[in-house]
């Protein structure tokens, strides 16, 4: 059942991307329709997490496919819950292909694993909080990275004076994208900080390299935010640094 529901979520975001593309091409706004497609996919994906969570008797973050499913869900959830300052024009349209990619990988043979047959005998609430907050923070970071990618596109077009095209016309202003990306980054750092505190309470042996990657990413993000708000940084450097740190922090997920 969870597999079919994940497939349904995938189909929904793929259809959303397709219809969004058609809207962008015709010069219409994609905001409302992206929201609706993502809302439907998010609900479907919530059911997947519930099914797997009930089977496991814990937060379903124990397999790679579960991590990807949870990450896709948190990305959609963060997008849907964010206010208009964060959720800028075309962000939903750009969020859908990333969500689709995560869901697609989670369903691939060799990656997908069926829900647990037996419930876990013992559940550590600190570990649950640590893992789920971390993945939620990754959702926020991914959304912030999407805003940075959108910034890079619009910055390139403005610098090269290529100001035609439906995508350029409809995309949010450059400054809005920087602001949105930074605010999401701050929110993500807060979540990571809480997740790290929870992680220190966990009484099981942890992967040291993963922890170091997490710490370095956290310090880098914090440094980026502090430097941006104190000394200042050219917006393109903020966007590139954001993407670079996110790429590095993904190594931690691959080690889970």
């Amino acid at each position: 059942m969870d597999r079919w529901l994940t497939l349904l979520s995938l189909v929904l975001v793929v259809l959303g991307t397709y219809f969004g593309y058609r809207k962008v091409r015709s010069g219409s706004s994609t905001g409302a329709s992206s929201f609706q497609w993502l809302l439907a996919a998010c609900i479907s994906q919530y059911l997947v997490i519930s099914i797997r969570g009930k089977a496991l008797g814990a937060c379903p973050l124990h397999e790679t496919s579960e991590l990807l499913m949870f990450l896709a869900w948190s990305l959609m959830l963060v997008y849907l819950l964010m206010g208009s300052v964060y959720r800028v024009s075309l962000m939903g349209f750009f969020t859908m292909p990333f969500t689709a990619l995560l869901l697609l990988i989670s369903l691939l043979p060799g990656v997908y694993t069926p829900p647990a047959v037996e419930r876990l005998a013992e559940v550590d609430p600190w570990l649950e909080a640590h893992a789920s907050l971390y993945i939620l923070a990754y959702g926020v970071l991914l959304l912030s990275s999407i805003a940075s990618l959108m910034f890079l596109f619009i910055n390139h077009q403005l610098k090269q004076k290529r100001l035609n095209g439906a995508l350029f016309t409809q995309m949010a202003p450059l400054s809005t994208l920087v602001t949105s990306s930074l605010r999401l980054l701050i929110f993500a750092v807060i979540l990571i900080t809480i997740a790290m505190v929870a992680g220190y309470q966990v009484d099981v042996e942890q992967h040291e390299l993963k922890n170091w990657i997490g710490r370095i990413s956290w310090i880098s993000y914090l440094g980026l935010i502090i430097v941006t708000y104190t000394r200042g940084l050219p917006p393109i450097k903020i966007a590139l640094s954001n993407l670079l740190i996110f790429g590095f922090s993904l190594l931690a997920i691959s080690l889970v």
Partner: protein, 337 residues
């Protein structure tokens, strides 16, 4: 009841003829009332803008209505016969097609401009207030407003900016979004600077600093724009505060040099800086665009963007005409058959 339209515009008549027919906004209702007092005229709406004056009439007979209106215009405006030769005439369905084209900006000097919608709305309201509209003209104008909405949403005739001022504003909005927090500095106090600055102010930009070699001219322009005049040797310190720079001096060399701008980047905390160089020879060293946060546009690139928008609008005409025809197909308008 039959609809007719008589009018003249920038294509059919030179300005010296157009001004003879011009009616101020305050007198549109009165002019329509005078027309309704004529034999054969049952309803009337008078539209008058700087580029056109048009009379939309519901008459008992088109030919008789046209003849009556011409005679009235000749007499009331004291026109020579030759002035009437500039009038174009549309009858029945042509009237609805023409009004829809006019309101959609297809007949405007700047193709696709939207100001005409407000002007026609004002004219229609004035006639409505004067009680010179009726079933035919109400249906005619309501349908025209509806069709304009369809043209605006279903085609790209009104997309893009076609003037230097508007292109500059659009670009600034693409960088900063809402311009309400944006501060502007003008280097030079010429006419183009003023036009671009006024476009920015009309879209929300608040503070304007004006600097010029002749301080008196800077003060004069600053007063017009309700801004602040700055001495020419202080422009660099002002750049620290502003987001948009418009430069148009007559200097034969670059006024803003890359190394000078480099000194204020840190003080500006690398915030985006949008620079428009309207001068020839250019006032701003083109190499300043090497700075990540600087977006520099010269007059050629801005004019090129305006031209591209114009070309794009021209390509849309055919689609608009088809859309208007389709929209009128099922429209219920008294007096077009």
């Amino acid at each position: 009841m039959k609809l007719v339209c008589l009018g003249l515009n920038h294509k059919s008549a030179p300005v010296e003829v157009r001004e003879l027919f011009a009616v101020s906004n305050k007198k549109l209702g009165e002019a329509a009332t005078q027309l309704c007092a004529l034999n054969e005229v049952l309803e009337a709406v008078v539209v008058s803008t700087c580029n056109r004056t048009e009379y939309y009439l519901a008459t008992t007979s088109p030919e008789a209505g046209i003849a009556t209106l011409k005679a009235h215009l000749q007499q009331s405006l004291g026109l020579e016969e030759s002035a009437l030769e500039h009038l174009y005439i549309f009858k029945l369905r042509e009237v609805a097609v023409h009004l829809a084209s006019v309101i959609s900006g297809l007949d405007s000097m700047v193709l696709g401009e939207t100001e005409i919608v407000g002007q026609i709305r004002t004219a229609y309201q004035a006639s409505s207030d004067a009680k010179t509209t009726g079933k035919a003209t109400n249906q005619l104008f309501q349908n025209a407003f509806r069709i304009n909405k369809a043209v605006r949403t279903q085609t790209q005739i009104q997309m893009g900016s076609t003037s230097v001022g508007n292109v500059a504003v659009d670009l600034a909005e693409k960088v900063f979004g809402n311009l309400e927090k944006s501060k502007v500095m003008l280097i030079g106090a010429g006419e183009t600077c003023r036009i671009v600055a006024q476009s920015l102010l009309s879209r929300g930009a608040k503070s304007v600093f004006v600097t010029n070699r002749s301080y008196d001219k800077a003060v004069e322009l600053a007063e017009k724009l309700e801004g602040e005049a700055v001495r020419f040797d202080e422009w660099l310190s002002i750049i620290e505060k502003v987001d948009i720079v418009i430069s148009s001096t007559g200097a034969p060399y670059a006024v803003i040099k890359k190394d000078e701008l480099a000194t204020v980047r840190g003080k500006r905390k690398y915030r985006p800086l949008f620079m428009i160089d309207i001068a020839v020879p250019r006032d701003i060293d083109p190499n300043v665009s090497d700075f990540d946060e600087v977006y520099l546009y010269d007059i050629d690139s801005i004019e090129q963007l305006a031209e591209m928008a114009k070309e794009k609008r021209v390509q849309q005409i055919k689609d608009c005409v088809t859309l208007i025809e389709n929209e009128l197909e099922g429209a219920k308008i008294e007096g077009i058959k």
